[in-house]
């Protein structure tokens, strides 16, 4: 039976070079696209593309809507509360669900008595889940759901506090909450292990006796082989989709002028989605409709169709507004499956939203890490060898690698890595905003900083020597300028409060999801609509889609209606891996272009001119050769022979093809961040005063939204660097800070002044040439802050979060 969480893969690709070759076009054409960075040697690149591709989109300066600061399409609805999130959905006759969850980190269920819960007034159904390893859900495996019986011997072992056991559906949330407490259950508790280091020891309690067959990549590194599992240790992973070991590492170290070897540790961070995970499932004879707080409507549909053996056409998943996912909201999830089961049992819609505590325990987290990084440096600063070993725990799940940054950020001929997953009795990890790479950068960028110091070089200039990425070089230059890097004098303050400056950089693979389709409709009344199952997870997808279509049709963004987040529409990509903008906007533009050509064809017929002579701009349709032939868009659509023009298009391959498989584009998205901090050497308190973040995301479609994403990434990075930490009680296995009071997110006073530098970079990759920004924005922040802290106090912190406790300890004060 399928396992929905298994598909929680964030990246659009587990690149399969065999799957498809490059697409051949029956009719193609050559077009010249902008290439490079305006003001910095912008040129043109010729690409051979399919004949029906739209003409090259000029650089932003020459456009009217795309590239302009544009207000969010749904801003008003959000700030007035009119926007309906999954949590706001109310359906007639709706029931409310509540889970019974494991109170023990490791236990066997000895007996289970549902009778009192079932009898409780207002309860309509109780269901016991069959779980499988990895915290994921199997539907009805081993027992007959409709008969509401279960086989006690087949009930799963409980492996973490919060593991779902059963759930009730009742007429109100209050009734459900009370009823679930009436489920009587006896446990046989078993020894458990929570800590990364202890779980690796020989006689540690074992989380999974059986081999975990899953081979997943949470987007961090490659796929860990299932056969390499010993005790709680699984791995090592020695390669990613960017390749494996290269060169001769030992020789590289032998050639080094000096070698640095350091250990770094990072903590578990939880996603803290403002809207918790959850669904409203409505099982009807002709259609299963599920309102879901998800990053991937199409993915949830596919999971549910498979699990409940329904045709995809009979499953509809809707996500109109979404309150944050950060990688954790893929797949139907155990709550989605449970709500669907309960709805099927009761014939009523069932709402099942996690509460804040459950959100921390079971909805995913960024695994912790223990990284041992060894690097050799030549006299000239070039890196001669990198050897990385890492351990991390995603609890009962996989995917605790530390990413591809050591492998790929800097030039280095000799490289090897061994990344291990370690199972513990804790809630499952999930992809989290640049999975792995955020952990990896904290280590790598501190090492580079140390090397620069050893070499007596400025950290910015040093990176110019070892980093051959052209765009990132520009980011360093412009970022340093905005930051005033040259004039910064570190740590020289006489008092106990020291000021420091640091920088770090990162990169992110340019992922494309080819399952990105959209329809554009032009109606005879002049209204225009876009439709796709792609969801706006808060990043502003609706707005950029409206901008792209408006640009194509010569209209304004607010003239376009955007209907997305519904699987009745053509499939859009899941919003993860920073793929959305780069994947769906070319599809949308191409659909708009097709619709436009259809419309212009009809106008050209009426005017008796060539289609190629017609242009749509500023709300008008006109002939370029005959200025007397001009009318408004509103008049032009009246010439339509049908009430609607409908055009659908899908994301073609990148112009010029992919670097790997069917979705890994050429070029990496670079990012560079600079941080200024104050460190109180007597209290250990760190304050991040200012961050300058220099980024590129291809063509910035809406600079205002790019800034928003960067701001969010930096803020999340500040939280990761200084405050956030999932704290487990080692004696009971409970998370002691599973709330937003003692789990510390950065709030108003913790947020530094953030300045953004956006490099407008054209790679001639698609009809919009846009790329993502969500993840790149989060990668370098903690590294930059760590380097700034070192710069301030002259002592390096190798462990996150950098709390007052750790600062004082590092300074030898406590």
């Amino acid at each position: 039976m399928a396992n929905p969480n298994k598909k929680k893969v964030v990246l659009p690709v587990a690149p399969d070079k065999e799957a498809h070759g490059p697409v051949k076009h029956l009719y193609s054409k050559k077009i010249k696209l902008p290439y490079g960075v305006p003001g910095h040697g912008l040129t043109e690149k010729e690409r051979e593309v399919a004949i029906d591709e739209p003409p090259p989109m000029p650089i932003n300066e020459k456009l009217s809507v795309v590239g302009k600061r544009t207000k969010r399409a749904d801003a008003l609805y959000k700030v007035t509360g009119a926007a309906k999130y999954t949590a706001d959905i109310q359906l007639p006759g709706m029931l409310y669900g509540k889970f019974l969850r494991s109170p023990h980190p490791h236990a066997r269920i000895k007996s289970l008595d549902l009778s009192a819960a079932k009898r409780y007034p207002g309860v309509h159904a109780v269901h016991v889940l069959d779980m499988e390893p990895g915290g994921s859900v199997q539907l009805d495996g081993g027992h007959d759901a409709s008969a509401e019986t279960y086989n006690i011997d087949k009930l799963p072992l409980l492996r973490y506090v919060g593991q779902p056991i059963a759930a009730v559906a009742a007429e109100s949330q209050n009734i459900a909450d009370e009823a679930v407490k009436l489920i009587k259950i006896e446990y046989e508790t078993l020894p458990f292990v929570l800590e990364l280091d202890k779980a690796r020891q020989k006689n540690a309690p074992v989380v999974f006796e059986e081999k975990i067959e899953e081979e997943i990549s949470e987007g961090d590194v490659g796929v860990t082989a299932a056969d390499k599992q010993q005790g709680n240790l699984r791995g090592p992973t020695t390669s990613s989709f960017l390749g494996g070991a290269r060169g001769d590492v030992d020789k590289g170290f032998a050639e080094a002028e000096f070698i640095l070897e350091k250990e770094f540790r990072t903590q578990v961070q939880t996603h803290c989605c403002l809207e918790t995970h959850g669904v409203v499932a409505d099982w009807q004879p002709d259609m299963l409709t599920v309102y879901s707080s998800t990053q991937n409507t199409a993915g949830v549909r596919d999971d549910l169709a498979e699990l409940f053996d329904l045709p995809k056409s009979k499953v509809r998943v809707i996500t109109e507004y979404m309150g944050g996912g950060f990688g954790s909201k893929f797949g139907a999830g155990h709550f989605g499956v449970m709500a669907t089961i309960l709805s099927r049992k009761t014939g009523r819609p069932v709402k099942l939203m996690l509460n804040r505590e459950e959100e921390h325990l079971v909805a995913g987290n960024r695994p912790n890490s223990h990284q041992i990084l060894k690097m050799g440096f030549r006299k000239d600063g070039k890196i001669s060898a990198i050897d990385l070993t890492s351990y991390g725990t995603a609890g009962v799940a996989l995917g605790a690698g530390v990413g591809r940054v050591a492998q790929d950020l800097y030039e280095c001929p000799n490289f090897r890595m061994a990344q291990y997953d370690v199972f513990t009795h804790a809630g499952p990890g999930a992809a989290f905003r640049a999975p792995g790479n955020v952990q990896g950068i904290f280590a790598l960028e501190q090492m580079i900083d140390e090397a620069a110091e050893r070499l007596g070089m400025d950290p910015v200039k040093y990176r110019d020597i070892i980093d051959n990425h052209e765009v990132r070089k520009l980011e360093r230059m412009k970022g340093a300028e905005a930051f005033g890097w040259k004039n910064k004098k570190p740590g020289s303050d006489p008092g106990p409060i020291k000021r420091g400056f640091g920088m770090a950089q990162g990169h992110w693979t340019r992922f494309i999801n080819l399952n990105s389709s959209a329809t554009v409709r032009i109606n005879k009344d002049g209204s225009v609509a876009i439709m796709s199952s792609v969801q706006d997870i808060g990043t502003g997808t609706k707005t950029i889609l409206a901008q792209v279509v408006a640009e194509e049709l010569g209209l304004m963004a607010e003239d376009i209606t955007v209907k997305i987040g519904d699987t009745l529409y053509p499939d859009g990509p899941g919003s993860g891996g920073s793929v959305t903008a780069g994947s769906i906007t070319p599809a949308v533009r191409n659909a708009a272009y097709k619709a436009k050509m259809d419309l212009l064809g009809q106008v050209a017929g009426a005017w008796d001119v060539e289609v190629s002579d017609l242009e749509m701009k500023n709300g008008d349709v006109y002939s370029k050769s005959d200025s007397s032939k001009k009318m408004s868009f509103g008049e032009a659509v009246k010439k339509m022979r049908t009430n609607q023009i409908v055009a659908t298009a899908s994301r073609p391959d990148d112009y010029g093809g992919f670097e790997i498989g069917n979705g890994i584009g050429y070029g990496r998205l670079g990012s560079v961040q600079f941080a200024e901090v104050l460190v109180d050497t007597e209290t250990g308190f760190i304050k991040v005063e200012r961050v300058v973040a220099a980024h590129s995301c291809g063509r910035p479609l809406n600079p205002m939204q790019v800034e928003s994403q960067i701001n969010g990434g930096v803020i999340m990075g500040v939280g990761y660097a200084l405050y956030e930490d999932r704290i487990l009680d080692l004696n009971t296995g409970h998370m002691v800070n599973a709330n937003l009071d003692q789990y510390k997110l950065p709030y108003a006073k913790e947020i530094p002044q953030i300045e953004t530098v956006i490099i407008e970079h054209y790679g001639a990759f698609s009809s919009t040439d846009a790329s993502g920004i969500g993840e790149p924005a989060n990668i370098p922040t903690a590294g930059a802050i760590a380097n700034a802290v070192y710069n301030a106090i002259g002592v390096r912190l190798y462990e996150l979060p950098m709390t007052p406790q750790k600062v004082l300890a590092a300074l030898g004060v406590s």
Partner: protein, 336 residues
């Protein structure tokens, strides 16, 4: 959240009649859901109910009782305020700001602006500790009538460094730190009438009774909080240190109230918050300061004295240097 009866008390006498339990008692010996407890703004009470660790049978709201939200200042009598005065009221009172600087600073740095607008001072003194085991329904710890202190053997980074033997939770009120430093008094009204006691005796350490934090009885309501007048030579300061600056509990806070004769310190109150299960007076440090002219050197000695006898737990040794620094800075600020 359990179902309970909700009543608005029209007067203090009636409220006393309607109630029959303190919250601590309701959580330990009256868990049958019959306890009748009072509520002010509910910022703490409702949290306890929602967390499932308090299940009262009746909640008696004090907010309709007239006259409990008055604040007055008199040069001779000092400051006096009712239990329904909010933290924001203190923060916004020109008299408090002018004469009771440490209290003003404590008010201005507590919680968040939104909570300060709601949270009352009666409730603030009566609020329950924030120990994460205490707040978790999964941990039946000593304070809730159990036998184990999970913090002593577990995650205790934010716990006490003094009086750690029985229950090393820290007192959650950072306002109390300042109030105790001003030799504040509290008036309790019960069926037998009123009693007035110094706040330093109001708060009780866990050794006395681990299940509660103060001497209030089952049918007692705080009806007034009084601070003696300050004089020309009074110098005070308060500072609170949290992991974050916004919306955070204290990792350590310090209030100092000094009576100065010119440059010489005639008398001193030094109180530590978040150091012990009660706002903790540091008498040895006060004695060290008395009669001295304040200098960096003197203050360093005072800080050392103040931390004598600290018994930090496995994860909170950092609090020792933290308190030393906070105290040194607070004294210098007070006179500076």
């Amino acid at each position: 959240m359990n179902r309970f009866e909700y009543i608005k008390a029209p007067s203090i006498d009636e409220a006393i009649d309607m109630m029959d339990s303190t919250v601590p008692e309701a959580m330990v010996t009256r868990k049958d859901g019959s306890a009748k407890v009072v509520k002010a703004a509910g910022t703490d009470l409702l949290d306890l109910i929602k967390e499932g660790i308090l299940e009262p049978g009746r909640v008696i709201d004090l907010k309709n009782i007239p006259g409990l939200d008055k604040l007055s200042y008199d040069k001779e009598k000092g400051l006096q305020f009712g239990p329904m005065v909010t933290i924001a009221d203190l923060e916004n009172s020109p008299e408090v700001k002018k004469h009771y600087r440490a209290l003003y600073l404590a008010a201005a740095h507590a919680a968040t602006p939104q909570i300060r607008n709601m949270a009352t001072m009666g409730g603030n003194l009566m609020q329950r500790p924030r120990c994460w085991y205490f707040r978790s329904s999964a941990h039946h710890c000593r304070k809730k009538g159990g036998t184990t202190c999970f913090a002593q053997i577990g995650q205790n980074q934010f716990h006490a460094i003094f009086l750690t033997n029985v229950c090393p939770c820290v007192h959650p009120s950072s306002l109390a730190t300042a109030l105790v430093a001003y030799d504040g008094m509290v008036e309790l009204t019960g069926p037998e009438g009123k009693r007035v006691i110094p706040l330093s005796e109001f708060f009780t350490p866990s050794e006395v009774d681990v299940t509660c934090e103060n001497v209030a009885n089952n049918q007692e309501i705080i009806t007034n909080i009084m601070l003696p007048p300050v004089n020309e030579g009074t110098r005070a300061f308060y500072s609170k240190h949290g992991q974050r600056e916004s919306y955070d509990w204290s990792m350590g806070d310090v209030a100092v109230v000094l009576q100065m004769d010119g440059k010489k310190c005639r008398d001193a109150r030094i109180i530590f918050g978040a150091a012990a299960p009660i706002p903790l007076r540091r008498e040895a440090a006060e004695a060290e300061l008395k009669g001295k002219t304040i200098s960096e050197k003197v203050v360093a000695k005072v800080a050392e004295k103040a931390l004598e006898g600290a018994t930090p737990l496995a994860h909170n040794a950092y609090k020792v240097p933290l308190f030393q620094t906070l105290l040194k800075r607070a004294v210098m600020e007070a006179v500076g």
